[in-house]
């Protein structure tokens, strides 16, 4: 910087009032205004950018809609599978709450997805094509198959009509549920957003774990203690997978993991999930109140995790360093390999 100042003797000395030599604040030297409160010299960034502007355009997705959908979709899918498992193992009340929960969650998912569209009235345009290159297209078709099955399962359960149809719908929804709960990982990873894209190996497992934990949480919250054993175990399994996947992702991404590591929602989500799972397995066995509290913590934990992932991705898209530096490293590595070979 100082070198640049020294090299600018060309600033004009000519003044409107003819008083040459009066250069006022132009002669001010850095630091002459007393002690500085902050470091004046910003350490030179080790990458270039265009005025610090992001390379990528910020995703237009709204956090309440798409962050909310990531949570609700996971809850709906995993709850349906839990409902089918509960029904097949003779736990009717756990099956009932899971079916109703799945229907509510999938209804909320549809609301979020359609609400986030720029032209909601054109939602059906999604059904013009099926494209395996577009996780959103695949997801739309999965939801189109899942929604009616989950709705039918819940409606027959509550009304008591057509038990045979209800069982078929429950099994169908339970079979499609895992796809509903995990495809959302491909949805966000199949973008140029650095923290999402580069985390694509762990994201499906993180989402699956979070979904299982939330479905277990719903079971703990709403099903009687005598039937909630699978929900308790699922909560522990889900929380463990979620935490393991997150830890692995953060380790593998290196510098790109910064937005994930400093994300408070993610930390809070992990803490709530683990606390809820442990409380559910211990106190939640005997006390209904403890089970409700553990279930609520698990649901809140899953929601925090999804919103945290969403927010960390937005952050990584908005800072050019997360786009430029990994690409630079990639180029350097390729160059070195070329030189060697």
């Amino acid at each position: 910087m100082s070198q640049a100042v020294d090299q600018t003797p060309s600033q004009t000395d000519v003044r409107m009032d003819g008083a040459a030599g009066l250069r006022g604040e132009r002669e001010a030297t850095p630091g002459s205004a007393g002690r500085r409160r902050e470091r004046l010299m910003v350490p030179k960034a080790d990458f270039d950018s265009y005025y610090g502007r992001p390379v990528l355009n910020e995703p237009t997705w709204e956090a309440p809609d798409i962050g909310g959908y990531l949570f609700l979709g996971g809850l709906a899918g995993a709850s349906s599978t839990l409902a089918a498992a509960a029904e097949l193992t003779g736990r009717p009340r756990l099956a009932r709450v899971s079916k109703v929960g799945a229907l509510c969650a999938i209804g909320g998912s549809f609301y979020c997805l359609i609400h986030d569209l720029g032209r909601p009235e054109r939602f059906l345009n999604m059904l013009r094509v099926f494209k395996v290159t577009s996780p959103m297209s695949v997801g739309t078709w999965v939801l189109t198959a899942f929604g009616p099955a989950a709705g039918c399962a819940a409606a027959t359960e509550v009304s008591g009509l057509y038990p045979g149809l209800g069982r078929a719908a429950t099994l169908a929804a339970g079979a499609i549920g895992p796809a509903v709960a995990t495809y959302t990982a491909a949805l966000i990873c199949d973008t140029a957003v650095p923290a999402w894209h580069e985390g694509y190996r762990e994201m499906p497992f993180l989402f699956a774990g979070s979904a299982v934990a939330s479905a277990g949480g719903l079971g703990l919250l709403a099903a009687p203690l005598s039937e909630a054993a699978p929900a308790r175990r699922a909560a522990v399994l889900g929380a463990a997978v979620e935490c393991a996947a997150a830890a692995r992702m953060e380790r593998r991404l290196g510098a790109l993991a910064e937005p994930l590591k400093r994300n408070r929602l993610l930390r809070l989500g992990e803490a709530l999930s683990v606390a809820g799972a442990v409380a559910g397995l211990t106190l939640g066995r005997r006390s209904r109140i403890a089970a409700v509290a553990a279930g609520a913590a698990l649901l809140a934990g899953s929601a925090c995790t999804r919103f945290g992932i969403f927010k960390a991705g937005m952050e990584s898209a908005n800072d050019p360093k997360y786009t430029v530096q990994p690409q630079r490293r990639r180029l350097a590595k390729r160059g070195a390999e070329r030189d060697l070979g």
Binding site: Q7, T8, D48, Y50, A78, R91, T133, A175, A186, R328
Partner: protein
């Protein structure tokens, strides 16, 4: 993994070669583009970023002239500001019309499509504004327009995705795109892509011979992460200086692996629930 058959792109493919070494930053391309395509206003803000108040490409900015000021010499030029080295870098950025276009791959409605000219265009009457193409683009080109009433001038296209069409309507009539037509220095050149690539190689040699050794082509290589771009550039510095990614990769390149991971996770989820339900069934 690509949705359209990119290998069919060939002889008929047209493109832009933007030679930034002769860009004078007049922004005539920005104006011509807005006029011809009736692009709504994109905000009237003073940014303080040199002479650039357009900021970057988006739904309502299809050409964007970047202004970079550097205290470095430009070839053998005398900047005429005392003993100080100084150079302007000006570059007119535009949609790259990638060979492997992520926006097109991820579009769930089929609104984005590959034209007979090898360009990538949004059909605004099909687009439902899901916004998936926006984070998919590795260059930050495409954007989503705000909904009708909030944004004057967007009209029927409110809430939908929008970007450069390479003047699809003009191409059909045998005209070159408005930006290339108006560019007073021929910094923006339009034509057959193969021809443009040859011309760019010759120009690169010429510019380097003239002393600007930092000159390089960007987006001309069919072997890069997006299969080469339909709009490519001669730059005088690293791409990121102009706000371009140094090594863009189409996100769908990794999609087959993503689907495999999703599949394993889904099966694991099913197995996990089965295990938790059937274990200790007697309890």
């Amino acid at each position: 993994m690509a949705f359209d058959l990119d290998e069919r792109l060939g002889d008929g493919r047209v493109g832009f070669f933007t030679d930034t070494s002769i860009c004078i930053g007049c922004k005539a391309c920005e104006v011509a583009c807005k006029e011809w395509n009736q692009v709504p206003d994109d905000g009237m803000e003073f940014t303080g970023m040199s002479y650039d108040n357009t900021v970057g490409l988006g739904a309502d900015t299809w050409r964007h002239v970047a202004f970079v000021e550097q205290r470095r010499p430009l070839g053998h030029q005398e900047p005429g500001v005392g003993e100080m080295d100084f150079r302007w870098l000006m570059a007119s950025d535009v949609c790259k019309h990638c060979t492997h276009a992520a926006c097109l791959d991820v579009c769930p409605t089929g609104s984005l499509f590959r034209t007979e000219f090898g360009t990538v265009v949004v059909q605004e009457d099909i687009c439902n504004g899901c916004g998936y193409c926006v984070p998919a683009c590795p260059f930050g080109v495409i954007g989503k327009r705000e909904n009708g009433p909030k944004k004057s001038g967007a009209g029927e296209s409110g809430g939908t995705a929008a970007k450069c069409t390479m003047c699809y309507d003009r191409l059909g009539a045998g005209e070159e795109p408005a930006c290339a037509k108006t560019c007073p220095t021929d910094s923006i050149q339009f034509g057959n892509l193969d021809e443009l690539r040859e011309r760019a190689e010759r120009r690169l040699e010429q510019v380097r011979a003239a002393g600007t050794t930092s000159a390089r082509l960007y987006g001309h290589d069919p072997g890069d992460g997006v299969g080469g771009t339909g709009a490519f550039f001669l730059l005088l510095d690293e791409p990121e200086v102009y706000g371009l990614p140094p090594d863009p990769v189409v996100t769908t390149r990794d999609l087959p692996s993503m689907w495999r991971h999703v599949g394993v996770a889904a099966v694991a989820l099913l197995a996990g629930f089965a295990a938790t339900a059937w274990r200790g069934r007697t309890r």
